[in-house]
């Protein structure tokens, strides 16, 4: 009799153990399995390498500045500082820029005009998509309808009007100007824009994207407001 009881207990305990084991396995699963194939790994590697080379070039640029400071420290420290300030102003978008660039006109599509549709403004989502698309290219200076894009530019809908830097964008047609760091980059951007699927997205909104031939000298305006800086204070003394 007792033997039978214990055998029952054994079976039940075995089942409990089995369930606990399975539960433990299930709970501890999260580490996902490596399922990348060799090409995905290669792509990842090349992305990382690109990042690496970007970081290296940044380091070398900073090193250059450092050397400049060292050289200038005896001669004219102010000049070196002024140069740096000027560089920073350029990268922040606080100066007018002239360089190789492309002008793009966003206009109502001829089909929409032929059908007599009402011309509506561009949607902020589409504009943001466009900006994100061209931001694949590094070091661009962009202005949309005369508004320079800086780091804290907001493109959004305010009371039904699409605004850039809180200024309304005019109803199409309006111009987008892009300045690239070099002529080759400019050409690359031009080719990319011509082949981009983004133009189809504009067409859905009854808009046509006219990409003008790259020009060697295009000028875009400076960001004309004070940059809002919340947490940076000028240091005093020393």
């Amino acid at each position: 009799m007792k033997k039978k009881t214990f055998s029952r207990f054994t079976i039940i305990l075995f089942l409990i153990g089995l369930m606990v084991g399975i539960q433990y396995n299930t709970i501890n699963e999260p580490e996902s399995r490596e399922s990348h194939d060799i090409w995905e790994l290669r792509q990842e590697l090349s992305r990382e390498k690109q990042l690496h080379s970007e970081l290296l070039s940044e380091i070398s640029a900073l090193d250059e500045t450092l050397v400049k400071y060292d050289n200038a420290s005896s001669a004219s420290p102010e000049q070196a500082l002024k140069d740096t300030v000027q560089e920073l102003r350029i990268s922040a978008g606080l100066t007018d820029m002239t360089g190789p660039g492309i002008e793009i006109t966003i206009e109502p599509s001829p089909e929409a005009m032929a059908f007599g549709y009402e011309i509506e403004g561009i949607s902020p989502d589409l504009l943001i998509r466009f900006v994100n698309e061209i931001n694949r290219f590094k070091g661009l200076h962009v202005s949309i309808d005369g508004q320079r894009l800086v780091n804290n530019t907001a493109i959004r809908d305010i009371n039904g009007a699409v605004t850039v830097n809180a200024r309304p964008v005019s109803t199409p047609p309006f111009a987008i100007k892009i300045i690239s760091p070099s002529t080759e980059d400019n050409q690359k951007l031009y080719n990319h824009l011509l082949g981009s699927r983004l133009i189809d997205d504009f067409f859905i909104d009854n808009l046509n994207v006219a990409v003008q031939e790259p020009s060697e000298k295009l000028t875009i305006e400076a960001f004309d407001e004070a940059l809002p800086v919340d947490f940076l204070n000028a240091s005093e003394g020393e």
Binding site: T10, F14, L15, G17, N25
Partner: protein
């Protein structure tokens, strides 16, 4: 008794080694089933110590409790009420209760043994 513990160890080993995984959405049911079976187990041990153990009650209780708990959890998911909490509560309370009784029974047994030894 050692056979039972061996069974438990064997079960855990097989469960871990077999590398069986159930879909995460069913993990809740399994955890409740484990709780239900632990409840039955301790109930069985208590009954054994109180000399009221019955084979049929033990085995049927095991499967019935598991099915009931899983069913409650299933119903809860479909009704949008966390009914499995009811199962967890009931089993949890009973588990503590049973373990307390087992502890008391074992303690009385032990003290009686001591007494007997002293009188000898």
């Amino acid at each position: 008794m050692w056979l039972s513990i061996l069974g438990l160890i064997l079960g855990i080993t097989v469960g871990l080694m077999a590398d069986i995984r159930i879909p995460p959405e069913y993990a809740n049911y399994l955890s409740i089933a484990v709780l239900a079976s632990l409840d039955t187990l301790f109930g069985g041990i208590r009954a054994h110590l109180q000399q009221t153990y019955d084979d049929k009650i033990f085995v049927s209780g095991f499967f019935f409790n598991i099915a009931l708990a899983a069913g409650l959890a299933f119903l809860g998911v479909h009704l949008g009420v966390d009914l499995y909490l009811a199962a967890i509560f009931a089993f949890g309370v009973r588990l503590f209760h049973n373990i307390a009784i087992i502890r008391r029974l074992l303690l009385t047994k032990w003290t009686e043994k001591q007494k007997v030894r002293k009188t000898i």
